[in-house]
Symmetry: C2
Subunit: 206 residues, 2 copies
DNA sequence: GAACGCCTCGGTCTTAAGACCGAGAGAAGG
DNA sequence: CCTTCTCTCGGTCTTAAGACCGAGGCGTTC
């Protein structure tokens, strides 16, 4: 729905032309290869939605840029999660734009992206700086291991140490060790803050 | 941006006509009064965004329906929070549609809404049933008091009982009492689950 | 005045949480 | 072979959390 509306709107905007569209990340790659194969003009910009079936926008961006480094990818999405913003930029997106922007702001951001200039609203830049800050504190004390992520997820579900131990088939002592390591690595004080942390990061969905 | 695109798209759809638009809840009321004053034909449907400056979609819906009961309001938004869905339906919205729907699904939902038939995708109906379930368990044990909501918010920020007591200028004992009451009313087991609960409900933003 | 709900606070008690200590097994890499 | 990392587990200890008991002040309502 958003894509259809966006397309019809952009077509009316002078200087813009919509030459292709896709409903998920895999289709994006396919379209680009088709266009490249038939020798047509490649798109200057790709407006990428973050949440897509099959392949999400971040993975798609990474793939697209590895194969077609010349295109500019603008991430367009509804969600403002620190981790998501981080990953999108890391994957190579020029800008990260929320769907709540006005038409004028979008046009401005697209024109900026065409020149390779990131244009970010205040919300996004805040999320980005928060993400970077958390990233650096994480890299200070090494990233989380797989097991620790599992434990963190279960904490974020509201489970106690005993339940987590039963769920993962390990003793309570081991769970406590993981929790202590998580608290140290994330620089937090208790499991409640860990649960909040996980939710803010967008690690938990429903 | 979304509104512009949506407008241009719906104008092209046979059977649909966009007769007005507004950028926030207050403007919606103004437009409707203008239309009513000049004796023009009233809109059949209102596509309402949930997150708007000045006045949000839920309040606007309540106001619109109290003044113009004949119109059908369709809530169109990016956020899927149990509480938000609940409140929107409670305010009188016929349908609650996510912006991730396809153009076809939107048209289908709008045609349904025109006849007063709610059309909901699986995600939304799940959120709604969860919201209703939580609402009923809350009404069983009375709703939360203002003070309890304050404490819950601080718990959801990751604070300990001692910090909360200092923040609210009350003793730790009192905080514990509130926490115990919160756990009983929400039917949860510890403060971590309370924090998760608050976040899922959409009580905490950033 | 009596009843009720809300906020406040106290004591006691049990238990989960977390810190700090050490340590063995196994896999990966120099 | 040795080191390093990860996962595992044990003991001890301190403290925060939460349950359960009671209770006084305060405002509203009947």
């Amino acid at each position: 729905m958003v894509r259809m509306g966006l397309k019809t709107y952009l077509m009316l905007e002078p200087g813009f032309d919509v030459i292709a569209e896709a409903s998920n990340g895999l289709e994006v790659i396919e379209r680009l290869r088709e266009i490249a194969a038939e020798g047509s003009e490649m798109p200057d910009l790709i407006l990428m939605d973050l949440m897509m079936p099959e392949m999400n926008g971040t993975e798609a961006t990474r793939l697209v840029l590895s194969e077609f480094p010349a295109v500019r990818v603008v991430m367009l999405t509804s969600f403002l999660e620190d981790r998501l913003v981080m990953e999108a930029i890391e994957a190579g997106a020029v800008s990260y734009v929320l769907k709540t922007v006005t038409a004028e702001e979008l046009i401005y951001a697209l024109k900026g992206a065409f020149r390779g200039m990131p244009v970010m609203t205040g919300d996004v830049s805040q999320a980005l700086t928060r993400g970077i800050r958390q990233r650096t504190v994480q890299s200070d004390s090494s990233p989380l291991t797989e097991r620790e992520k599992e434990v963190l997820l279960l904490i974020a579900e509201g489970m106690g140490n005993k339940e987590i131990g039963e769920e993962l088939h390990i003793s309570i002592k081991t769970v406590k060790t993981h929790v202590s390591n998580l608290l140290m690595k994330c620089e937090l004080e208790d499991r409640t803050q860990l649960a909040i942390f996980a939710h803010r990061q967008g690690m938990v969905r429903l």
